[in-house]
Symmetry: C2
Subunit: 197 residues, 2 copies
Amino acid sequence: MSDSNHQNRMQRKKEVVDERISRATEERGVLILLKGNGKGKSSSALGTLARSLGHGQKGAVIQFIKGRRETGEYLFFRDHPRLDWHIMGQGFTWETQDRERDIQAAETAWEIAKGLLEDPAYNIIVLDEMSYMFKYGYLDPVPVVEALKRRPAHQNVIITGRTMAQPLQEIADTISTVQDERHAFRGGVKAQAGIEY
Amino acid sequence: MSDSNHQNRMQRKKEVVDERISRATEERGVLILLKGNGKGKSSSALGTLARSLGHGQKGAVIQFIKGRRETGEYLFFRDHPRLDWHIMGQGFTWETQDRERDIQAAETAWEIAKGLLEDPAYNIIVLDEMSYMFKYGYLDPVPVVEALKRRPAHQNVIITGRTMAQPLQEIADTISTVQDERHAFRGGVKAQAGIEY
């Protein structure tokens, strides 16, 4: 391709992109759902959190399943002055094997989340692996949807988890599905610090 | 479901999971590709980077397209003592409209990346939006694949971008495809600090 052809094509592309940008004018917080069976949902939420903190915003993370305090993400983020980090989980359901305890943990986590969703001081809230709470019937999605609808207008919320409850999908602004096309674990590589936890 | 049924099901699930974990014994760095048209690829790479830094590891980021220094991610990560951050891009091709300058920037970025891929001090390297370099023909994937194959055995590498060059996919350990199911931008919401940049 000649340089001038390249320039002409890119100029046309720029016009299309600029036109789209000019149509997106609404300024408000968004609800982002990260679902699917692929690696990178919680990581993506944490990367967006870092971006938000970089702009001086205030954030919170609630981990609904993970119960460990030795994860790299916790070690990295825990001392940040504008971030609250709540480890509410007890591990995966097949680790706890205790339905009553799982439900109790889910309800306690949701109480904290509800408080955050009413607090305009928070710019971004990550509800990590919350979707499993609906899948296992530990939480009812209806009051969660109501709290999300009532939240402060500027507040961004990210919810992660493999399968996402339908009522949440109905009110989401952005939905990304992370598909597992290949995973090192199936290739025999052990989970490692810095990648999986 | 009764509590004892739940416990039995979860015990069986735990056995399946434990068996899978026992088969994954290899310890080495992995090549992760994050592709697809959905939101969350670069964010995911940055979240994994945070996790890695949390474990005391050393990292580097090379941004092949982004040229701005006011992004939340740069503001957040730039002062980290165990992280190098290289902003090598000049913006999207339709912004620069200058093929020669784009190619020059790509080659300079690749020279830096090559040096990192030879340096065992780095545990994790993020090559952000590198895939566009192959798509536009700015870089040849063959020497990139060779450098990736030769890298230190413990080194993790994450490459992001919409479409991924086939030779990279052939040697990758993990591939996640992020699919755009819905995006706030198309719903009329303006790109905002802390979410898009």
